[in-house]
């Protein structure tokens, strides 16, 4: 099976042993407004795609928070995104008509302080061909939470830059990710 989240749902052949590797994990021992995986160029020779599996909660004094995904530390207006969001009563779609500031926006991921205790949001982020220098870095997420602010969403986005990926930053826009939030980075190998 192809382990990328959405591709996996479509079925397929079982991945060969060793084609999907854990590269790094960050589990917060104190709250933090952002998490960064850096030195990703070290993986460029061995991996074709990257995936991040995410479990998080925000300390924002509200129901739910939003998150930016940023590449190579770029917080400029060099991103765009689309999403499809289910709220339990309706399905909405949002998008940017042009460049979007500060990162790829995920609005579905993180519960916050007024949501039930111990409830966390979850997500998978797939980044395709992140080390290619002829393509904008393009990503997609499947993320959701079942809490007071329940949401499920599909997001796609791009960083309008062809630079090889060197870092990924996850930024809690309205607060900080709480202790126990976890971000794990995986690599999907290219064929030999």
């Amino acid at each position: 099976m192809i382990p990328l989240g959405i591709l996996a749902a479509a079925g397929g052949a079982v991945a060969s042993v060793g084609s999907y590797d854990l590269l790094a994990t960050e589990i917060l021992t104190s709250s933090s407004s952002s998490i960064t995986f850096s030195s990703l160029g070290d993986y460029a020779a061995d991996y074709e795609h990257l995936q991040v599996r995410m479990v998080a909660r925000s300390n924002r004094a509200d129901t739910g928070s939003y998150m930016y995904v940023q590449f190579n530390g770029d917080t400029g207006s060099n991103y765009n995104y689309h999403d499809l969001q289910g709220t339990g009563s309706a399905v909405n779609s949002n998008a940017t008509s042009g460049s979007y500031p500060s990162g790829i926006l995920d609005k579905n991921f993180s519960p916050a302080a007024t949501d039930p205790s111990n409830s966390f949001g979850v997500g998978t982020l797939d980044i395709l061909d992140p080390f290619e220098t002829s393509k904008y870095t393009t990503a997609r997420t499947l993320s959701g939470q079942s809490s007071n602010s329940s949401r499920i969403g599909l997001t796609s986005g791009a960083w309008r830059n062809t630079a090889s990926l060197t870092s990924i930053t996850f930024d809690d826009i309205f607060g900080s990710f709480v202790t126990g939030s976890r971000f794990s980075l995986y690599g999907l190998k290219a064929s030999a």
Binding site: A8, P116, S150, I152
Partner: protein
């Protein structure tokens, strides 16, 4: 140091129809689980419910939210009777379902998951789910209906994978 992961734990392929399938004694040495199901039902209705419980808990400790398209509308709804709700066809088509259960062995979190489910004759769905328990998941029970009259068909497959973090 990269660590190979996505470990196959068990695959169940039905040689005879069954009302439920259980993964028991799930090891606690991993971080996430991925449950991949390709299943259909046999029974009088053309569509039966597919439901999931953890650790034998059939109480009111579950919530789920789904977003789905049926060919004419995009809809969203919620449920509270089971961790997961979807549809099975009893005519010809199998439902392809992939459930990502995150931090299943953690004792400081409710258990939350993401699902993509496809039944091409009926709908395509994305959903999220929460079991309001901090207990580690040690067993998963998958049922074909809530009334015991529908069965998983011969050839239905259920595979469980584990991911380290």
């Amino acid at each position: 140091m990269p660590t190979p992961t996505y470990i196959p734990l068990q695959t169940i392929t039905l040689g005879s129809s069954a009302s439920s399938v259980t993964f028991a004694s799930i090891p606690q040495t991993y971080r996430d689980l991925v449950l991949v199901m390709f299943s259909k039902s046999v029974g009088s209705p053309t569509a039966a419910n597919l439901k999931i419980w953890f650790n034998g808990d059939t109480g009111s400790n579950y919530s789920n939210l789904r977003m789905y398209g049926n060919g004419s509308s995009a809809l969203s709804g919620t449920g509270s009777t089971t961790f997961f709700e979807s549809w099975l066809d009893s005519t010809a088509e199998f439902t392809a379902t992939n459930i990502q259960i995150m931090d299943y062995s953690a004792a400081d979190k409710h258990k939350t998951a993401l699902t993509r489910a496809n039944l091409s004759s009926l709908q395509v769905q994305a959903s999220t789910h929460r079991w309001a328990s901090t207990s580690a998941i040690s067993s998963i029970e998958i049922e074909s209906s809530d009334n015991g009259t529908d069965l998983f068909a011969v050839g239905s497959t259920f595979s469980l994978y584990a991911i380290e973090a």
